[in-house]
Symmetry: C2
Amino acid sequence: MEKPDLPAYEQVKAFIKGHISSGEWRPGDPVPSESVLAQQFAVARMTVNRALRELAAEGLVTRVQGSGTRVAELHRISSRLTIRDIHEEVAERGHVHTTRVLLVAQEKASADLAQSLGLQRGDKVFHTILIHLENGVPIQYEDRYVNPAAAPGYLDLDFTQTTPTHHLLACAPLTEASYSIEACLPTAEEARQLGIKRTEPCLAMMRRTVSGAHVASVARLVYPGTRYSFAGQFQA
Amino acid sequence: MEKPDLPAYEQVKAFIKGHISSGEWRPGDPVPSESVLAQQFAVARMTVNRALRELAAEGLVTRVQGSGTRVAELHRISSRLTIRDIHEEVAERGHVHTTRVLLVAQEKASADLAQSLGLQRGDKVFHTILIHLENGVPIQYEDRYVNPAAAPGYLDLDFTQTTPTHHLLACAPLTEASYSIEACLPTAEEARQLGIKRTEPCLAMMRRTVSGAHVASVARLVYPGTRYSFAGQFQA
DNA sequence: CAGTGGTCTAGACCACCGA
DNA sequence: CGGTGGTCTAGACCACTGG
């Protein structure tokens, strides 16, 4: 009795999922129409519609108006990669997060940086460099530029108490973000601050966040390869 | 006239999204109740319900039965990382994908491997090692173990014509997958086959796929850091 | 208790597809 | 053309929350 009274639309979903994951219905095969399923389960078509709509959103089936519903070609495994505030992430592991502040400054934007932030060359930008530690061990080197228009009070923060991410999310509502992850070797300075050898590979994430009309911030986050990994999973 | 007749539920979603991304409604603020919005837009409550349900699924609002709907704390930026068949990925860039086959063998599982695949130590497993090339340049070293129960005919494939991923998806419907990405240095053999120096950092993805009751496959995919990166983006 | 969201119904009209 | 999915309605009952 593990499913006392699953909602009807969940029962329909489970029915379809079962046939798909058992291999009985193969990619490309048609799924019974909404009206057929509605009769079969003795529920309203709207209920079946919700079930199929959610399965489509999950990528398990594809739907074409006028044509029908089919089992999706599962060639793209897609999973959510979640990027979180590092303080929360460490705290959730039951560990202690501390921050070492290396630089808090106002600078003039270089041509490249101005481009990234949507500013003019020479415009003022905020620049911080921090080391994040988990139980005293460095796990991230954070080199960040912030658009003053998005977070005017940024430089006045006490970064040992608040992470840049936390403040930026609070004061510049996030509308868009992009990132890329690659492998690299640390610079001399990064290696020194992270306490690793220059030959130790690292994960580098470049992240750019947009808030409304402004690019809020661009950051380069370097993680020692032996102390960090990105993980995720996918469930049908 | 860019939105001739957006569906009603989309209009409600747009209304809410607008207030959130403009910063007018801040994280934690209450969103008008379903009945209020239904009156305001002169639509049925079901329509508003769908709008709010989808916004909740997108992570923009949180809903608690009996309490209400609130603007979500946007502390987790979450985006879809899509894992795709490398052949498709290369083909989509308009490039040529080729494969170099280094090993196709049947082996006895070591204790560790048996554990990963859900088998007993000494059970037979299939093992392949391939190099994937994009326009003749090595971009991935694929070291894969396959559970014979999930893909009995695996060893008979011509891996210069079909990728393991492609065959596995076709013959063992995917129900679950997990992965982790980390930075590493290549082994001597990996470096040699990829044509890189042993000091060049790489991205390594460990991937484990499950099909129904079986673990179908575990693979280690090594990418030269200078030739590959994972990228994604998030849109509010 | 009144208000909220969670679910469901039995209809309906429409746009679209394929034969 | 008939069948499909896309959307919508005006009700309904329920479980849950908060004061």
